[in-house]
Structure formats: structure tokens, C-alpha cells
């Protein structure tokens, strides 16, 4: 099971955190501090796994961002590594060659997408197409609601004129 997902930039800035096991706020910041210390200092061309407090952290660097997932000892590391890549590909498809800035300004989108891929720390959907379709559906729902709201407010505005 995946216990948490972290996205950390090369400067140690947190871009996304998702916790599937209960951690208090204090523990969360401690985990982030410790792991960024461990992972950001690792050189290139090393393996993608770090042993940490009886868990394993599978991480991969994409441009300036580190995607990290913490799993149990006995979990399949490569499987997790490919979940990371799967997520990145979906982000890439959604934003159209994604960059760190996309994830900074649209961090909520990154959360929506993650929720379509993982639930309870397990993989939910392995088809990129399906995820893309569901996210698009969500976006259009929000859009429609917005249009409705603006049209109603228009009506009210006009009525009260």
C-alpha cells in the first residue's frame, strides 16, 4: 500500500502531498523534512529506491520535480515506479507537456487527477484514456455550473436594475 505521495521541487519546495495513512500535522512536516534531506541529496544514476524507517520510498525525478511514494517493505518497487510514471504521463497529457509551473498554479488539478489514479493507496485505474475522460467530464461539470451561476446572477442583476 502507498502510505503517502510527495512532490518536492529540487529546492525542497513541496508541490503536492497526499497522505493515505493517518499522520498528524507535525509528523507530516517531519516526514517531508527528512525525506527531502535524503532524496534531494542523492546523485543521478542511483537506483530509485530509498530505505527509510522500515519503509521504502520509491522516487523519480522529472525535470525539477521529485515524485516520491512511500510503500511497505514487501511491496513491488518497480510497480510503484511505474505508477509514478503513469501519473506523470496523465499530467503531461492533461496540461500538454507539463512543467512545474503548471503544477504550482493548478495544484488543485493535480489533486483531482491523483484522486482518479489512486484511492486508499492503491491503483484505481491503469488506463490513461479513462482518467483523461473522467477529468474532462469533471471540468465540464464545473464549467456548466459556472455558466449557470453567471447567467442567474445576470438575470438577478438585470432584474434589480
Amino acid at each position: 500500500m502507498i502510505h503517502f505521495v510527495l512532490l518536492i521541487s529540487r529546492q525542497g519546495k513541496v508541490r503536492l502531498t497526499k497522505w493515505y495513512s493517518p499522520y498528524t500535522q507535525k509528523e507530516r512536516s517531519k516526514v517531508i523534512r527528512e525525506l527531502s534531506g535524503v532524496i534531494l541529496t542523492r546523485g543521478p544514476k542511483l537506483c530509485n529506491f530509498v530505505e527509510w524507517r522500515g519503509y521504502k520510498v520509491v522516487y523519480k525525478r522529472y525535470a525539477s520535480l521529485y515524485f516520491c511514494m512511500c510503500v511497505d517493505q514487501e511491496d513491488n518497487e518497480l510497480e510503484i515506479l511505474e505508477i509514478i510514471h503513469h501519473y506523470v504521463e496523465i499530467l503531461d497529457r492533461y496540461f500538454g507537456s507539463v512543467c512545474e509551473l503548471d503544477l504550482i498554479f493548478n495544484f488543485h488539478k493535480a489533486y483531482y487527477i491523483l484522486d482518479e489514479i489512486l484511492i486508499a493507496g492503491e491503483l484505481q485505474e491503469s488506463s490513461k484514456k479513462t482518467v483523461a475522460r473522467l477529468i474532462a467530464a469533471q471540468d465540464s461539470l464545473v464549467e456548466t455550473a459556472k455558466e449557470q451561476a453567471s447567467s442567474i446572477s445576470n438575470i438577478i442583476a438585470q432584474a434589480t436594475k
Binding site: 513541496v14 537506483c47 522500515g54 510497480e79 505508477i83 486508499a120 451561476a149
Partner: protein
């Protein structure tokens, strides 16, 4: 630039990014938080859009690492918004900000439930996602049935059902009772016929979780675990699903049916041999993910030797490739392979490559290599491996040195071809990495040298050599001073080894060492003095001067030594008796091995240790020691008092010599707790071994750990101390009842009630103590301390000091079972009511049978096992007399209630009972235990009992445990059929039903 679609949010993010430094950023964040706070305060004026925006800002700030301690309510309240955009934000932000233990979440349960049972599928998705990510026990209890309905509903679209499946998985993890095994197994089997891969992937995860707890019920799902061929990812058919399927298979016992087995192995063979390394990284990763899972399955299935060697050959290839991930996994899986018997020799062929990996630039890989080397070491390659480790020690990074030196020390001890080599290794170890060599390690050397006379001159000479080095580690000073004090007289004829020279070279080190070492040095001087016969007046004066100097030392221990040694050394020949050589140590298990197990080590390492421990019951070094102590009679043994090694020297002295009255009284009254030399040496080691001499045990056990153990032992029989407050009900009875069930009242008196609720899973347990104040005024100074026996690791969460009137607090207590033992943990509970201080000591029902999980075995499984465990210590037999007479049926019920499942029909004699169970502990892992009871229908008070398991301690402890159950009468009127109401362990199939006919059952198995 991509924008968030919310202008205010984008502006805020830009502002933060433009902050030149951390201070500015904090200012900006504080300003924003202030703003949000005021806006939330006059909530009326807030439009849904604004609320949404602020909640997002809060999440962003939270992510940056700032404390956001307000506004949770607003986030939660968005969940109940009628429109999708707000609801979505509410759900997502809530599940990011809060965790399952948060109170606010309770407020949302109803809304969430309405969304789940409602018709709006997008709302269903949102609700299921949040519950799946942060749902806790309460959610589990109130939502599980609805979620289950959704998974199998035919009207729901796959997107809802896959979420529901994972949501149920979460709820099941929080409370396994919510999934009713009987009905659900069939549904689960149907689910696996699912065509939608998303649903199938999710269901497979659910299945893995379900079978990991109880595979019995899910047999019907087994045939369906074949790998489908759709959904490609980099040209590989759904790798994740393949991995999960094989993972699920690993939770089922080995497949026996030859046809299934063959076809399964064909598939595995294809995966193992057909996976090529390709250019594309992702394709490579995905295919190797499948491959390694297949490998794990092969290990689980206990494949033929040929296939195993193929696997190892493959791994051997992997550990030499360029790609670091594969190298890492190759090493890791080789370590796992060590668990499989017979492959040792094949793995050894790759030793050179593994040693190379020890120098890998990547610490993750180095760790794996070290682990593997440690696991694969045996007598034949110990010398090479240990020398390799020593060499590596000087260049290893600090993060690994401690582990490295501990492991090297253990291996050297276990597999030493001869003891002088062992001494060499340890001295080198201290020389190269003194900071990382714990006291245990040098204590152990001293112990070996003391027990082996042949070794003594050699060790002394070596110690002397090291002292010539210009700068040596303090630990080296300690060990060499000790050795030279004891044995330097054996070297007296060698050049540079006259007492005087030895003294001066040791004394050179004195100014640089700490107080604890000074104490050892003083003893050494006294010993040198003793061995110098005839006395050398010059040396004598020198040493006396030192003793004189330390007579006024601020450190009591040193002062006492100085005074006593000074007085002693004036006694002339009588000195010989008291300061003679140390007697031999009793045989002990190495405390290092225990330490290695205690250290937080990862599972692979654990398994390696366990494996070693099983293969090599006694270390070779110990065996050597044994022989010599049997053959040679040591001269020291004639000495009367000194023979008792557990007494500290000061005690011996004062009891034997009529010395200055006041001094003698101080030394007897304070048997110098820890820094005493002998106590030092014995303390940590003695904890391991059997008690040397009953009365003097207290003296031996000087470490904290020992004291705790003694305390616990003393306390257990006394359940309650005299208190002003009378308990309600019989505490012992309550305890015995709780041994058989998992929830109930542990203790009650007029003021307080302590309830307990427990869940057990494998070797882990989680108890919740419910401390309830029954009164209208608060209880103060509440304290709960756990005194765990050495085999349990227990962690009690914080207990509040005050319990408000009529309130109940819950304190979770995590338990981990390290090894089989019948010792009982004690809860030391105290509180103050008015002026009454009440203190009770209660046994906690974390007893042996809680770590048993029922398992029914068929005749075909039972008899080979039973035969393979032949004779003591794995199989023990005993005739038990004075058994509480009971009908056979009642005895069977008693067994069942202790999780020892009676398997009827296995024994042709109707007066006999055969029972089986699995025992879980960290050291044994899951271990099958088998029991046979032969009763005599003519005399129900006696029976013959045979217990067998793969672990000698377990067999013994289990035998004693069963005996206790049969002999003692814990509760007078036992309910006729106490079926174990253990919710965590899913109910086994009623034992009578399926196993009437072993043949039918076998058919069922396959």
C-alpha cells in the same frame, strides 16, 4: 503561464513566488491567513466562489508547511454544498487537510452517506474517494454496507464501482468486521469475472487485502486469478494487474494439484525466461515488476530445485547489470531466496559480485549487499566475508558503520574457524571503528578469552601490540587493559612485557580516558601488582601513589576502588585469593544477536537473522568454548567466594575481610550498581543467560533492562496491591475471560472502570484501553504504565493526566509479539480520587493464544508435517495428570476457544483430539503448530499430550500453555461452548462441517 482559473488564487501564488526570502513569504502568508480568518468570521457575506477560493488558499498555505489551525470547518461544510464545484473542493481539501482521527470528519458522515446512496454518480465518486482516502473506523461501521452494495450493483457504471471497491478496501483495513466473509466470498469471485479493467484492478487490490487475512474463505476466487491479456502499458498487458494477481496467489497455501501447478509454472517460466532487457525504461520497469513478482511467487510455491537455480542464475545476472534498480532488486530478492533451503551453494557462486556491490556508489544498494552477505555467510566463507567487511569498514560511510561492525562481530563469533581469528577480528574492528563498537562486543571478547585458556596468551599479546599504536580508541584501552590485567603475567618472558613495562604503557593512556575506563585501569593495576611476585618496590610505590591520588576522586566508584585496592594490596599474599583470575563465565547466548534483532532492522535482514538462527543453533565459537571448559579444569575454581562471578568485587571483599567498619558498611550497603567492573562485564550479558546463582541475581542484573525484568517478574503473581478502594468483581476472573475473548471489562472499582478492546492480526495487536470515570468529579494524576515482558514490544499512546467527570478516554496500545513466551504484560494503573491514591497492577490479556490463528489442516497436510517434526526439541510429549475432568466435546471447545482448531477425523481413535493452529511472532513468523491429545476414557484426569512446531521454544511454551489451560481451573463455571468472539480473525469455517471427510475436503482445497 498556466493559471488556476481563480484570479485571487493565482495572484496569491504569484505573490508567494515573488517573495525574495522566507521572512517575506511568512509575512505574506500571515497576511493572507488573517484575511481568510476575518472573511470566514462573517461567513454570511461569502459567496460559494469566494469560499472555494479561500479554502484552496488554505490548502496551498498548508502545503507550504505553515500551520493552518482554523477553517477546517469551512472546508468540511463545503461538502454539503448542493453544487458540484463547491462539493468537489470540499471533498478534496478535506481529505488533504484532515486525517482519519479528526473530529470534524464526524460531522460529515451523514452528508457523505447521503452522497453515497444518492443517485448522482459524480457525487458518489467524490464521496467514495474521500472515504477511501481518509475514512476511519466510524466510517467503516456506518458506510460499509452501502459501499458493498455499490460494488456489485448492476446499475452503477464502472467508474463508481472501482472507487467503491477501493473504498471498501480502506474500510476493511480500518475494521475487518465490516466485510462479512460468508456472503462476500462468492460476490468477490463474481467480481473477478469483471470485464472493465479499472474495476478488475481495484477488485484485485481488495482481494489481496482480504486473502492476506484469511485465505480460507476465498478459495472460490482462486481459479479466476489468471492473467488477462488486455489493457497494454508500453506493450505489456496491464502489468499492475499481473502483479496484483500474483501477489494474491502468494497468500494461498502452496498449490498441490499437479495440473494447476504445472500450468502455473509454465506461465511463471515464460515470465522468468521471456523477459528481455529493452531500451525503453518504462517498458523495462513494467516487465521487470512482473518478473520480480513472478519470482516471489516461485519462492512461495516451493518450486523444484531446477527452477530455483534458474531463478538464482537470473538474479546473478541482474546484480551485475548497469541499471541500478535491477541491481538493487536482484540483491534484495537474493536475500529473500536465502529463505528457501538448498540454494545456499548456488548463491555462493555470486559472492564476488556481491562483494563488489558493497562498494556501489548507491547506499541503498550497499545496504542490500551487506544484508545479503550477512545472510549468506557460513563457516565456509566466513573468513572471506568478514575480512571483506573489515576492509570496507574503513571507507564505509558513517550511516552504515554501526550496522556493519555489529554484523561483522556477529558473523565472526558465529562462524569463527578458530578463536584467535575471532579475537583478531574484534580487535581490528575496535581499532578501525571504535566509535561504532558497542560495549557488548568487547564484553563478548573478554568472555571468550576468559573461557578459553589457550587463547589467553595470544589475546594478551595482541592487546599489547595494539597499545603500541600512537592513538587508540578508548574501547581499545578498555579491552586491552582488561586483558593485560588478567593475563599479562603469561607474557612475562617476552620482550617489552615485564609488569613494569606493561604498567607504564597502560598508564600512559590514563590522562586521555573517561572515568569508566579509569575504573578498569585501577583494577588492572591491582592485578599487575598481584602478579608481580616477588614484589617490585618501585612499581608498588608508583601504583600506590595512584591509588592514593584517586582515594579522593569525586566519582564514588573510583574512590571506592582506589581505597579498597590500596588496602588490599597491603595484605601481601592474601591478595592472591581475592584478585585471582576471573572464573569462567557460564555459557550464554550472544547478546549481540539479540541486539541485532532488537535494532530496527528491515524485514529482509530479519529474515536472514532468523534463518541463521535456525540453521546454526549454537555458534561454533560457543561449542569450542564448551569443550575446553569441559576438558580443562581451571585453577580458579577452587577459590571459594570468587567462584560466584555475579558478585561484585567490593561485596566479596567486605564479606571476607574484617576491614574498617565504616568502609565495609558502605560497600555492602551499596553493591555498586553499574560502573563496577565485574558488574559491567556481566550485566548486559547476564540478562541473556540462565540465572547463575539464585540469590545473587540482583547483583548481576545491573542494567535498567534487567531491573525491569526482575520487577515485572515479581509483580505478575500479585495482581492487586492493597488499596483503600475495593475492586468490583474478581480481577483474576476478568483477566481469564479476556484471555479468551477480545473485549470486556478488565477492572472496575467504585470510581473507575477499565475496559479493553483488542484486535489481533498476525504478530501485531492493537488494544484500546477505555478508561472511564464513573463519578461526577474528575480523577486526577491518572497514570498508566506498561511493564511489558521481554517478548512483547508495547507502545501505549499518551494517557491524559485527568479524566473529566463521567467521561471515558481511549488509549490505544500497540503490541508486537517478538517470540513465543507465556510471560504476561502488566498495566500499572494509578489515579487519585479526592485524597485517595489508588494503584492497581493488572495483567493484560496479551497472552500466547492471541497470536494464534486458527487453521484447519487436512490429513494429507497433517501427517507429513507431523512426521517431519520428529522428537524433541521440536516435538514434545508429556503425560499430564490432575486434569480438570471434562467431556471430550468440552475439551474440544476449550481448544477452539484458544484458537487451536480441532480437526476431527484425523485421528482414528475417538478418544483423541488433534488440533492445529498458526502462531505469529516476529522471530518465528507464521508457524504451524500441531497438537495431539490422547485421553483415557477410564480416567479423565490424565492425558498424554504431544505438541509439535518448527521452533523449540514455541513447542515448549505452547505445551505449557495448553497444560495450564487443562490443569488449572481459571473460571469455575465455564460457559459450555465458548466460541471465540474474535472479530479480527475472520471466523473459520465451523470445524465440524467441512472436515468430516478428509477426501471431500481435499477436493475442496483443489
Amino acid at each position: 503561464m498556466a493559471l488556476s482559473g481563480m484570479r485571487g488564487l493565482s495572484v496569491f501564488i504569484s505573490d508567494i513566488r515573488n517573495c525574495p526570502n522566507k521572512e517575506q513569504e511568512r509575512l505574506r502568508v500571515d497576511k493572507e491567513l488573517g484575511n481568510i480568518r476575518t472573511r470566514f468570521k462573517n461567513e454570511k457575506g461569502l459567496s460559494p466562489y469566494e469560499k472555494k477560493k479561500y479554502v484552496w488558499k488554505m490548502l496551498y498555505i498548508y502545503m507550504l508547511g505553515y500551520d493552518v489551525d482554523f477553517g477546517h470547518m469551512e472546508a468540511v461544510s463545503l461538502i454539503s454544498a448542493p453544487k458540484y464545484p463547491e462539493k468537489q473542493v470540499g471533498y478534496i481539501v478535506t481529505s488533504c487537510l484532515l486525517n482519519e482521527n479528526h473530529d470534524f470528519l464526524r460531522l460529515a458522515i451523514n452528508t457523505v452517506r447521503n452522497d453515497i446512496i444518492g443517485r448522482n454518480e459524480t457525487f458518489q465518486c467524490l464521496a467514495l474517494t474521500m472515504v477511501g482516502n481518509i475514512g476511519g473506523r466510524e466510517f467503516a461501521e456506518s458506510l460499509a454496507p452501502d459501499v458493498q452494495k455499490l460494488i456489485i450493483s448492476s446499475s452503477c457504471r464502472p467508474l463508481v464501482r472501482k472507487k467503491a471497491a477501493l473504498c471498501l478496501l480502506r474500510l476493511y483495513r480500518k475494521n475487518p468486521d465490516v466485510v462479512n466473509v460468508d456472503g462476500w466470498a462468492d460476490r468477490m469471485a463474481q467480481l473477478l469475472d469483471e470485464r472493465d479493467l479499472g474495476v478488475l484492478t481495484s477488485s484485485m487490490s481488495l482481494l489481496v487485502a482480504l486473502v492476506s487475512n484469511n485465505h480460507e474463505a476465498y478459495w472460490s476466487c482462486l481459479p479466476k486469478c489468471d492473467v488477462p491479456q488486455e489493457y497494454t502499458y508500453y506493450g505489456i498487458p496491464s502489468p499492475w494487474l499481473q502483479v496484483k494477481t500474483m501477489r494474491a496467489l502468494q497468500y494461498f497455501p502452496t498449490v498441490e494439484d499437479p495440473n494447476t501447478r504445472r500450468s502455473l509454472f509454465e506461465v511463471l517460466q515464460r515470465i522468468l525466461m521471456g523477459t528481455d532487457v529493452v531500451k525503453n525504461v518504462n517498458k523495462n520497469n513494467a516487465s521487470h515488476a512482473v518478473l520480480f513478482e513472478a519470482l516471489a511467487l516461485v519462492m512461495h510455491l516451493d518450486a523444484e530445485k531446477e527452477m530455483m537455480s534458474q531463478c538464482i542464475a537470473l538474479l546473478g545476472k541482474f546484480i551485475a547489470v548497469r541499471e541500478p534498480n535491477i541491481r538493487y532488486l536482484g540483491l534484495e530478492n537474493m536475500t529473500r531466496m536465502l529463505m528457501v533451503t538448498d540454494v545456499h551453494d548456488i548463491i555462493k557462486r555470486h559472492q564476488a559480485q556481491i562483494i563488489t556491490s558493497l562498494k556501489d556508489p548507491d547506499i541503498s544498494i550497499r545496504r542490500r549487499a551487506l544484508d545479503l552477505l550477512y545472510g549468506m555467510c557460513d563457516v565456509s566463507n566466513a573468513k572471506d566475508i568478514v575480512e571483506e567487511l573489515l576492509q570496507y569498514l574503513s571507507t564505509a560511510d558513517f550511516a552504515m558503520r554501526e550496522e556493519l561492525s555489529l554484523k561483522a562481530a556477529i558473523l565472526a563469533e558465529k562462524f569463527a574457524p578458530d578463536l584467535s581469528w575471532y579475537v583478531d577480528v574484534i580487535l581490528q574492528l575496535i581499532d578501525k571503528a571504535g566509535d561504532f563498537v558497542s560495549d557488548d562486543i568487547w564484553f563478548r571478547v573478554v568472555q571468550f578469552v576468559t573461557n578459553n585458556e589457550d587463547l589467553q596468551p595470544y589475546a594478551a599479546a595482541k592487546a599489547r601490540e595494539y597499545l603500541d599504536k600512537p592513538a587508540i580508541h578508548e574501547t581499545m584501552v578498555k579491552v586491552s587493559a582488561y586483558l593485560l590485567g588478567e593475563y599479562s603475567h603469561l607474557l612475562a618472558r617476552r620482550p617489552g612485557c615485564s609488569p613494569k613495562e606493561i604498567f607504564s604503557i597502560i598508564h600512559e593512556k590514563l590522562p586521555t580516558v573517561s572515568m569508566s575506563t579509569v575504573a578498569i585501569l585501577l583494577s588492572t593495576y591491582a592485578k599487575i601488582l598481584m602478579h608481580t611476585q616477588p614484589a617490585d618496590p618501585e612499581l608498588q610505590n608508583q601504583i600506590w601513589a595512584i591509588f592514593n591520588k584517586y582515594e579522593s576522586c569525586i566519582e564514588v566508584e573510583i574512590q571506592q576502588r582506589a581505597v579498597e585496592y590500596f588496602a588490599l594490596s597491603r595484605k601481601g599474599a592474601a591478595l592472591m585469593d581475592i584478585l585471582a583470575e576471573m572464573p569462567k563465565f557460564p555459557e550464554r547466548q550472544s547478546s549481540l544477536i539479540k541486539k541485532a534483532e532488537d535494532v530496527e532492522v528491515d524485514t529482509a535482514e530479519q529474515s536472514a537473522i532468523k534463518l541463521r538462527a535456525q540453521q546454526q543453533q549454537t555458534s561454533t565459537a560457543l561449542v569450542v568454548a564448551d569443550q575446553s571448559s569441559a576438558n580443562g579444569t581451571s585453577p580458579v575454581n577452587q577459590l571459594g567466594l570468587v567462584k560466584v562471578p555475579s558478585m561484585s568485587s567490593s561485596v566479596i571483599y567486605s564479606s571476607k575481610w574484617d576491614f574498617d567498619q565504616s568502609r565495609s558498611s558502605t560497600s555492602t550497603s551499596s553493591p555498586s550498581p553499574s560502573p563496577d567492573l565485574l558488574g559491567d562485564l556481566l550485566g548486559p550479558l547476564a540478562i541473556e543467560g540462565p540465572p547463575v546463582a539464585g540469590e545473587s541475581e540482583q547483583n548481576v542484573v545491573s542494567g535498567l533492562e534487567g531491573v525491569a525484568a526482575v520487577d515485572a517478574a515479581a509483580i505478575v503473581p500479585v495482581t492487586v496491591q492493597t488499596n483503600a478502594v475495593e475492586p468490583i468483581g474478581n480481577i483474576a476472573e476478568r483477566f481469564h475471560a479476556l484471555c479468551l475473548k477480545d473485549s470486556g471489562v478488565l477492572y472496575e472499582d467504585p470510581y473507575v472502570q477499565i475496559g479493553i478492546k483488542a484486535e489481533w492480526r498476525g504478530h501485531h495487536g492493537r488494544l484500546v484501553l477505555f478508561l472511564g470515570n464513573k463519578n461526577t468529579s474528575p480523577l486526577f494524576s491518572v497514570q498508566a504504565l506498561i511493564l511489558p515482558p521481554s517478548h512483547l514490544k508495547m507502545e501505549l499512546s499518551l494517557v491524559p493526566e485527568t479524566i473529566p467527570p463521567r467521561a471515558q478516554v481511549q488509549c490505544p496500545l500497540e503490541v508486537m509479539n517478538l517470540r513465543p513466551s507465556r510471560d504476561v504484560a502488566v498495566l500499572d494503573f494509578s489515579y487519585k480520587f479526592n485524597t485517595n491514591m489508588v494503584n492497581v497492577k493488572l495483567r493484560l490479556p496479551a497472552v500466547l493464544n492471541k497470536f494464534l490463528q486458527p487453521i484447519t489442516v487436512s490429513a494429507e497436510e497433517f501427517f507429513p508435517q507431523w512426521r517431519s517434526l520428529s522428537g524433541p526439541p521440536l516435538k514434545l510429549q508429556e503425560v499430564v495428570r490432575g486434569v480438570r475432568p471434562m467431556p471430550l466435546l468440552e475439551m474440544a471447545n476449550l481448544f477452539n476457544s484458544c484458537h487451536l482448531i480441532v480437526c476431527p477425523g484425523l485421528d482414528p481413535n475417538p478418544n483423541n483430539l488433534v488440533a492445529s493452529t498458526t502462531f505469529y511472532s516476529e522471530s518465528t513468523r507464521a508457524m504451524l503448530c500441531l497438537t495431539r491429545i490422547e485421553t483415557d476414557p477410564a480416567d479423565r484426569t490424565q492425558l498424554r499430550m504431544t505438541v509439535a512446531s518448527g521452533d523449540p521454544t514455541l513447542t515448549f511454551e505452547l505445551k505449557e500453555f495448553i497444560k495450564e489451560q487443562l490443569v488449572s481451573i481459571p473460571i469455575a463455571p465455564r460457559p459450555p461452548a465458548p466460541v471465540p468472539p474474535t472479530p479480527s480473525v475472520a471466523q473459520p469455517v465451523p470445524p465440524a462441517a467441512p472436515s468430516n471427510d478428509p477426501g471431500a475436503m481435499l477436493a475442496g482445497l483443489l
